[in-house]
Assembly symmetry: C2
Homo-oligomer: 457 residues x 2
């Protein structure tokens, strides 16, 4: 029998986690090491110092320390917008007429509009501590760029954001938000880097891509004294910082005498998913519990469900280290018809390994079904979800409907990563019935796979 459950549960500041949880410590098979793109040798911590600041390089390589203290300065920043609420979706349950209990962890209550701030502030903090002058990064939809702008404003660090040119032009308001926080936002490809200039020379009218923006941001960082590069997803360090999502969720559920039968997260690069599932996956890895853990990706960019588990580059420009991950090939770019976020070609190595080893399931969903779920959710729960988050909503609704059919009162937890205020073009396309679903053909995928480097380890 569970306790009386409030609509929204907030932990007190005393209850907030003071350590991040490093899922790798409990993985029987660790994620594969990254490779130096020149030598194809496994990278050492020091190899990362020109790109990442030292503490973050250390965290990136640390497969064994189970809990890592959250520095007090970061805890103080977290307290400005955290804890995020764990919300019981009473109205959605009622509308679905389901015996299931649906909970969601809502990470959108900050100006970045998403969970990205959890890692942005950590990365900015370590950069400041190392005495760096500034950071570079890339952004696509703009949530990560916004989060990092907020973090850099707080620590008075310079920030250069390479924003995919097509987004830069389509989302001028996102750009202004970043500029409000003092960031310099450059449409990518640009003439501020060698790699950008080369791409522009070949194709002056290109709209750019996330992979190209990564290449530019990395080049800018390694060629500017006192600068380093930071990334908002995929990396082990990012999943570490995002574990705050799952840790808070678990404490809140324990207060309610609840434990999830199913944990559902959307999966682009894997940052939210890896954070949300961390402590529940720990229980699964250590035999304490056996929740179903479900990654949801778009059918348009199906890295887990149709990708290959191989070494690949993290960027289109092929300047980054290689990571062993589920990938569609670093040149794979989903059709412009796909508006629903989660457009990255690969998947975090931690998530990839766990999926490969059978600890989590993956589901791919069509975007019109995703927006259908988003609109239903908005009407019932008063939150307008980001299209990315709505992937998880879709599967949570599907699972709740199954419960209605079987009569099972399962406890469902999903991650609501953010809000959709800057995605109204996509909503409009859905509402006006002009949204298309794009499913890559086997040939499309083969073209992507053919670009993957052949690496034997």
């Amino acid at each position: 029998m569970s306790k009386k459950v409030p609509h929204r549960l907030y932990l007190s500041e005393e209850q907030m986690p003071k350590q991040w949880y490093n899922l790798r410590a409990d993985m029987p098979n660790k994620p594969e090491p990254m490779l130096n793109p020149a030598t194809l040798e496994p990278l050492k911590e020091e190899d990362l110092y020109p790109i990442f600041c030292e503490e973050l390089a250390r965290q990136e390589m640390d497969n064994t320390t189970r809990y890592i203290d959250i520095p007090e300065e970061i805890q103080d920043f977290y307290k400005m917008y955290r804890p995020s609420p764990l919300i019981r979706a009473y109205n959605l349950e009622k509308t679905l007429n389901t015996p299931a209990k649906i909970y969601y962890k809502f990470e959108g209550n900050n100006t970045s509009g998403s969970h990205k701030l959890n890692s942005a502030i950590a990365q900015a903090y370590y950069a400041k501590k190392q005495g760096l002058k500034g950071l570079t990064t890339e952004t696509g939809a703009g949530q990560w760029g916004t989060a990092l702008s907020e973090a850099c404003a707080y620590y008075n660090l310079d920030l250069t954001v390479y924003m995919v040119k097509v987004s830069y032009e389509q989302k001028p308001f996102r750009k202004t938000v970043m500029e409000t926080f003092g960031a310099q936002v450059i449409p990518s490809p640009s003439n501020t880097t060698k790699v950008g200039s080369e791409i522009l020379e070949k194709d002056p009218n290109t709209g750019g891509s996330l992979g190209c923006a990564i290449s530019e941001a990395v080049e800018k960082a390694v060629t500017t004294p006192g600068y380093r590069y930071v990334l908002g997803s995929v990396l082990n360090q990012v999943l570490l910082h995002q574990s705050i999502i799952g840790l808070e969720s678990k404490i809140a559920l324990e207060m309610l005498d609840e434990y999830p039968d199913i944990v559902i997260g959307c999966a682009g690069g894997g940052s939210n998913l890896g954070g949300l599932i961390a402590p529940f996956m720990q229980d699964k890895l250590t035999g304490k519990a056996s929740p179903r853990i479900v990654a949801v990706e778009p059918v348009s960019c199906p890295s887990l469900t149709r990708g290959r588990y191989v070494y690949d580059f993290c960027d289109t420009g092929k300047v980054t280290p290689l990571a062993k991950m589920y990938t569609l090939g670093s040149n794979f770019i989903p059709s412009p018809d796909h508006a629903g976020g989660l457009r990255y070609h690969g998947m975090a190595p931690i998530i990839s390994k766990l999926y490969h080893d059978g600890y989590l399931e993956a589901v791919a969903v069509e975007q019109t079904k995703v927006f259908e779920a988003a609109v239903m959710f908005a009407k019932q729960e008063t939150i307008l979800p980001a299209p990315e988050s709505a992937h998880a909503i879709r599967v949570a609704i599907d699972e709740a409907i199954k419960c209605r059919e079987t009569g099972e009162a399962k406890t469902i937890l999903f991650g609501l990563t953010g809000t959709g205020y800057f995605d109204m073009t996509a909503y409009n396309s859905y509402l006006s019935n002009t949204m298309k679903t794009y499913i890559p053909s086997d040939e499309d995928l083969e073209r992507g796979f053919s670009q993957i480097p052949k690496v034997d380890l």
Copy 2:
């Protein structure tokens, strides 16, 4: 000595107010009654039934009931997005190097992005309870329209929103948010009403105005069976519903053994201000405490600081009842140079009366100073404020700076009514130094005053 203060304080559901507080009950001089525009006689409750639903008409006229129960259904809806946090602005205090303690009540954590939902859900509830089919309203910037769309979606009520045409064209995303919640959004003036058609005939290229949109929404409501009109500010009923803001704030401050020396709210129509100050004004009216209470308005639309306390229409089309209020004349429209919200020509009768009787102060601020405060606040507190809210931030900062100079550790409370995600055009104008400050000349004001009807009571 005050208790250890968390960054964000959330009440538990048990602590949330179960009654609204009706400030009029404690006012020694009640606000003047509204007048029938045809007869200039004071309106009776029944006179309002064709426009408002009956329970709301009752609340509008009730000057004596001190506490009014919040129906359980509304309490349940409030629990989906409330309590809103009371936040201690530690970082802002540190940046300002002030001994003052700054608290703010943040109402932006819902999809409408503002406090407007507090009254929208109440008005939709009573309409549903009366068996109505739908509602009409107007919206300018779009926060009220969004809030009411959410509320009507929840109760499955039809909703027609007349959106000022210039906003409709400049803010297509706001429109899409409302449509996502199922509302019909019509640019005003339109050919769907008589008053709209007449205005269009005279000036086919007009961008519309809030006053015109009100006229259309009222006409549509009274000519459509099963429909009523609702308004998001100015009215007594709206201030009643918004008292939840002040009541929650007071309970939270009491938990911290705090009481504000100064309470600051931005003032457009007066809905947020009236709600925030309600229980503190009660203390002042009943002699229990004597906080300073400050209304902040833009110099571009200075209804309190330069307006007249007379009977005037609530709309440009002069179809509404007359209210005794501080007004600039119902034809006064601030210059398009003014981007910072709070563009209404009048002020809620309750606020007007209290100001007239000396219970509150008013300050007018320039919009570049407002945006300067907004950007500083965003960088320090991680929330991007709405331009409206930033008026209160400006004065809170000014008061905190005064404390630095005098060494006084005053407790300051201000209302952060909402977020600025849909106001990036204005932020961009500020950041690019193209924002102008508009101060109406005495002649400009005289033009507005000359349109005010001569009413002797």
